[in-house]
Symmetry: C2
């Protein structure tokens, strides 16, 4: 199975341009599963809740998801990507969708909000989703979820072979390091699609750290993007490799667990 990330530099507020740019970037490569950054169609640094609401869309009937569905249908692929969702009750979520050639597959609302996201977004309250996408079972988490080992663990225990991780990482090194460990400790593939560039819309400069990466269940960094350039990268992986949790003939990442001793 070919899985890939798109590392890009979204233009704040320019949904149409960002969607067109993604379409263009995808044309140079073929993948069955694509992962795009968090909030890839809108940019990240909102100044007010009203500004975020103005760029929010319902799922699936908004411009971003409709465009992703069109691409997935045309290219026969699955796409995980982040966007601002407005729920039926008017609440905003930092969300992700997984769309496939036959339509929308599932949605995720970020469970661990980072920094000023807490000012605009409601916290996700639904289970971390794991769904089929072609030959892989794909789990979704977003950016800062990486710091909480329970997020990736929950996805892996629910059967994820591949953890799709759209991100807008700003703390140097953290997300890249933790996601490598998430792959090792859970025996899964991880695909982190991070963005690059800077935003300075409320007098604070955010510098996004790039270095999108794909990690194997043994912790090998199979693909890694530069810090400051857009990059499209696709690798061939066998998702079934994530189903064998053994480390050696005596140890298994899952059956060796001791939940009775763990504090939650």
């Amino acid at each position: 199975m070919r899985i890939g990330y798109i590392q890009m530099n979204p233009i704040f507020g320019a949904v149409k341009e960002n969607l067109a740019h993604v379409k263009l970037l995808m044309e140079g490569a073929q993948a069955e599963l694509w992962v795009l950054p968090e909030l890839f169609s809108t940019g990240y640094q909102f100044r007010t809740g009203e500004e975020a609401a103005g760029l929010a869309e319902p799922i699936p009937n908004g411009p971003t998801v409709r465009s992703l569905l069109e691409i997935a249908g045309q290219r026969g692929c699955w796409i995980v990507a982040g966007l601002v969702e407005i729920g039926p009750d008017g609440r905003l979520y930092n969300a992700a969708v997984l769309v496939g050639p036959d339509g929308i597959v599932t949605r995720y609302r970020k469970a661990h909000l980072f920094y000023k996201e807490k000012l605009w977004f409601a916290t996700g309250n639904e289970p971390f989703p794991v769904v089929d996408a072609g030959p892989a079972r794909v789990g979704m988490m977003l950016c800062f979820d990486h710091l909480f080992p329970e997020a990736a663990r929950t996805l892996a225990l629910a059967g994820a072979d591949v953890i799709a991780h759209p991100a807008n990482l700003v703390i140097p090194e953290y997300g890249q390091l933790t996601m490598r460990v998430r792959a090792i400790e859970n025996g899964v593939f991880t695909v982190t699609a991070n963005r690059i560039g800077t935003e300075n819309r409320d007098s604070e400069t955010l510098r996004f750290t790039g270095e999108s990466q794909i990690v194997s269940p043994t912790g090998e960094v199979i693909a890694k993007a530069p810090r400051d350039q857009e990059e499209v990268q696709v690798v061939e992986v066998d998702p079934a490799k994530a189903r064998d949790k053994s480390l050696n003939q005596y140890n298994d990442r899952f059956t060796d667990r001791r939940p009775e001793l763990y504090r939650i």
Copy 2:
């Protein structure tokens, strides 16, 4: 508070010599909390359960713990170290003790056994311990526990400022990488005391990976030993820094957790 590790190359079966060597290594430095490797007084690679039993000792009335108590009393320090314990029922455990100037403080029996340890040792069934050692609250885990994020998480949630991690690591890079992430995700200090050298006692060569390390709550590697040489290293840290779990004004490693969404 001064905390340190002793990275050493134990001689298999030579308990007296290993204890004397540790005493000598400590003489060059002063620390309030020392961490020694797993099974530092016996060596690691047993060939049979009988051989392990022959090197096992009760806690606290065995040569290793008595010697550690003597050192702790003389030097006015706390020491975490690994040994083979024989329980009152004759079972063997891969264990660790924390001893202080006033006597033995607590014991830990390894909860996640690695590889052929499963042939000799019973699995620990007691909670991961966190106890006071001078100004720090110290948690204990052993070697392979590093792969299970729940171990360090449980210690941190129970109040550990410093995670003492005696080890006999053999998989290159894994333990050093995961323990750095354990420090970051829990906002604690971690002290991994690993051993060096090789053992080949049952036709399989085990190569221990060294690179003992001390990591700060932000993930900075404050001290790191070489791969293949003995090293004594002590650093000054403020354990209270591990009690502030905030990452910024909006995020806190503990209060941001979403246990209701986590699978255990």
